[in-house]
């Protein structure tokens, strides 16, 4: 399988990326900027509300918030066509909202109510929507990588032009089955984009303490899978990389790795005090690289929106989240008979 035979949207031989180089950030139209703003804000406000409901005891167990990483799923979603699949691990609320799963359904699943997407039986880490091509929501670190490769296998089997977006973190990138999957995906040229959300910490272990190769875009080298590092805090950069990657996969070139350099503002889960990093580090990311503030600044600067108009968007988003939270707090728990349903067909 010669690299030269691959159809590469952008080529540069000298960068060690097997012929690919990161594209320039996409030029967004006013509509795209506004849509990105709204979608990212929905995730941010939703997660803040989830954190609050957790604090009030409405949400139990583990709850991993996506705050800070919103640009990754939002930009990638903008590159998809109907039927493209998404699968991820346990930090999954943002992915679901990006795939247009109902905020009520997600929030009610978090509170374990019957109106939840899994009828209250999955919880924060286990939600799915066949209709929206969202394949979970998986609690075992790395397992979703083989599953996402299987989704791509199905696309290839059906020759349907769809792509599997398989997300995992810098922590999961050290699991063995990730590389088993890389090997098969490359061998069989499966249409899968491996999106490594590098938020710098696998729970409390920094990338430099866990990974011999900290450039995750190189992790496919042994399998002839090219990779790119992408500014995962800039939704335009993510969108451009998503366009390149989906085009690469649809052209039959096989898998591609996108390392999204991102950051989570909150702890690993609600009960993580995040003592492994400094407050200054978090504050610097928030004040200098916040994905939502970046879009907001551009909208204002280009006079595509006024502060007041953006406040209106904020209000509308808050209303959606408040409605979801209200529903999730008041919806009934699953009927006891649900204990025995959905177990074998």
């Amino acid at each position: 399988m010669a690299t030269a035979a691959r159809k590469a949207p952008a080529k540069s031989k000298s960068d060690g990326k097997m012929g690919l180089s990161a594209p320039k950030p996409a030029e967004f139209t006013k509509e795209e900027e506004l849509a990105a703003y709204r979608h990212m804000l929905l995730i941010r406000r939703f997660e803040e509300k989830a954190g609050q409901l957790y604090g009030m005891g409405f949400i139990g167990g583990f709850c991993h918030l996506y705050i800070g990483q919103e640009a990754v799923v939002t930009g990638m979603k903008m590159a998809l066509i109907q039927g493209d699949q998404m699968i991820t691990a346990y930090r999954d609320h943002g992915h679901m909202l990006a795939m247009e799963l109902s905020p009520r359904g997600v929030m009610a699943e978090l509170t374990g109510r019957r109106g939840g997407l899994s009828r209250g039986k999955g919880g924060s880490m286990h939600m799915f929507s066949k209709e929206k091509h969202f394949y979970g929501g998986h609690g075992i670190v790395g397992a979703q990588v083989s599953l996402g490769t299987g989704l791509a296998f199905a696309n290839r089997y059906r020759d349907n032009n769809n792509v599997s977006l398989t997300y995992f973190g810098d922590g999961a990138a050290n699991q063995g089955q990730v590389y088993e999957s890389f090997n098969m995906a490359s061998l069989w040229k499966l249409p899968v984009i491996y999106i490594i959300e590098n938020n710098r910490y696998a729970m409390g272990t920094s990338v430099s303490r866990s990974s011999a190769e900290t450039d995750f875009s190189h992790r496919g080298a042994s399998f002839k899978i090219p990779g790119l590092q992408v500014d995962g805090m800039d939704v335009r950069a993510v969108k451009a990389a998503g366009d390149l990657a989906t085009e690469w996969c649809r052209a039959g070139n096989g898998p591609l790795i996108l390392e999204m350099q991102t950051y989570r503002y909150r702890g690993h889960s609600m009960s993580d005090p995040a003592k492994y990093r400094s407050k200054e580090e978090v504050q610097k990311m928030r004040s200098e690289h916040d994905p939502i503030e970046q879009v907001k600044a551009r909208l204002i600067e280009k006079k595509w929106a006024t502060e007041d108009e953006l406040k209106t968007v904020d209000k509308e988003v808050r209303d959606v989240v408040a409605d979801a939270a209200e529903f999730a707090q008041n919806d009934a728990e699953p009927d006891p008979s649900e204990l025995w349903t959905d177990i074998v067909l």
Binding site: E48, F128, Y135, D342
Partner: protein, 461 residues
């Protein structure tokens, strides 16, 4: 309305904490995401972030307060346009409210302490009638398994086989012989040696609606993949509220073969039978292998199909029918009898069958039940037989502790205690890893003599 900021629970088990520090003062503006306070939980010091935007109107619980209950009001936030001075009025004079939120509806508690309704019973159809005069063809288990896959692949384009050496090599044990030639490399897929990975790929393909048959060269290697089998394949239907399951068959040889020693000789029937969401099939005859594998491929649930290398070459009559499908979850009475019930499955049946013919010579009329399916387990057939014979022996090759036989003994003691004239005896492999030496290997497995001795014991001969 001013917004009440509550003492948050920051771990699944936290009930109270100490409010160690305020990072904002009364009168300060806050926006969502601002850290406003630090609290100490039983585990760590945590930051409290604001969720809403406004002005901190009143701090109700001062810094340094210990034992603040979760959900107590700790501060009040005035939102835009509200009078900051008035926002906090009347709050904090009474003791902090602990019951602002009611996360668990009251009904849930009484449910938890009440008896839980039993699982609804699923009726499983009996075996289909084989019309009189149907030609019976002597077939090896190997050929029967191959025929089952080929028939189902002809029937349904979504069915494919993947595994190590299944295509060009024609199968490590020749179970997939000829499939590549008939169906091509798209549907008969050689994988690298990568069990964890290809099991996951198979489950992912199944979630997307394909119907994979994943062959493990032996089930010993499937331990590398057991997370995907259990956490991904078995649990997803339930976790997704019924939206998405995994119609997949994991099949391959299981249990001891001959002289392959500890790491290649282990029966997984009891392991997989422990898992809700899986079906577990372990046939003995070629007809059952064929009819049940066809059923497994059509089943919308993940099915573990446990074969046996030694049985592959055994021949049995298989009815020559266009579409011979057997029900999963139904035991087969291999031979009727009245004095004792011998329950077994898979290769365990060979001991039961040989023992039965010797017992006949002693004047003991044994009934033999071949479970065929380990999950769902057909206890009704076993219990009905015990009610007739009043004695039960279970034979299997797996390890003795928490064995399939243990489970059956437990269930029979609950459902037919008064019918038992003797304790249930479970015969299993010995409680050691499989040794290599020929004599020790033989000792580690069950034998016909053990079955006969057990029958004599329960019939008081």
């Amino acid at each position: 309305m001013p917004i009440e900021i509550l003492m948050p629970a920051l771990s699944p088990t936290m009930e109270e904490g100490n409010l160690s520090k305020w990072l904002k003062n009364e009168g300060d503006k806050v926006v969502a995401g601002d850290v406003i306070a630090e609290i100490e939980t039983d585990k760590a010091t945590m930051e409290v972030e604001a969720v809403d935007e406004g002005t901190l109107a009143k701090i109700v619980v001062p810094a340094g307060t210990e034992g603040v209950k979760v959900n107590a009001v700790i501060a009040v936030l005035a939102v835009d346009g509200e009078d900051v001075d008035k926002a906090g009025e009347g709050i904090g004079e009474e003791p902090p409210k602990a019951e602002t939120a009611a996360p668990a509806p009251a009904a849930a508690k009484s449910e938890a302490s009440a008896p839980v309704a039993a699982a609804p019973k699923t009726e499983i159809a009996a075996d289909p009638d084989v019309p009189a005069g149907t030609e019976m063809v002597s077939t090896t288990v190997r050929e029967a398994l191959r025929d089952a896959m080929a028939e189902e692949m002809r029937r349904d384009g979504d069915v494919f086989v993947m595994g190590e050496e299944v295509a060009e090599y024609q199968g490590a044990y020749k179970i997939t012989q000829g499939l590549l030639q008939e169906f091509g490399p798209r549907r008969v897929v050689d994988t690298p040696i990568t069990e964890h990975g290809f099991a996951g790929v198979g489950v992912g393909a199944a979630m997307a609606g394909l119907k994979p048959i994943v062959e493990f060269m032996t089930f010993n290697f499937a331990m590398q993949a057991i997370d995907q089998i259990i956490n991904s394949a078995a649990k997803t239907l339930y976790m997704s509220g019924g939206q998405m399951g995994a119609p997949i068959v994991f099949r391959g040889p299981n249990g001891a073969a001959a002289r392959v020693a500890a790491q290649h000789s282990q029966c997984y029937a009891a392991w997989y039978s422990h898992i809700p969401g899986l079906k577990v099939v372990m046939p003995y005859t070629a007809a059952d292998a064929k009819g049940l594998l066809k059923a497994a491929i059509r089943d919308p649930n993940p099915v573990i199909f446990l074969e046996n290398e030694i049985l592959y070459g055994h021949s049995f009559d298989v009815p020559k029918l266009d579409d011979f499908v057997l029900p999963i979850g139904k035991a087969r009475i291999h031979k009727t009898g009245k004095d004792v019930t011998i329950v077994s499955f898979g290769i365990g049946m060979t001991y039961a069958v040989k023992a039965e013919s010797e017992l006949r010579g002693m004047g003991i009329d044994a009934e033999i039940i071949d479970l065929r399916t380990i999950r769902p387990l057909d206890l009704d057939t076993v219990v009905a037989s015990v009610k007739k014979t009043n004695r039960l022996i279970v034979v299997e090759e797996g390890y003795p502790q928490s064995s399939v036989g243990d489970h059956i003994a437990n269930q029979v003691s609950q459902r037919a205690f008064d019918f038992l004239d003797a304790p249930v005896i479970t015969i299993a492999g010995k409680d050691v890893p499989m040794p290599y030496a020929a004599n020790l290997e033989k000792l580690a497995l069950p034998n016909v003599g053990e079955v006969i001795e057990a029958v004599k014991a329960v019939t008081y001969r």
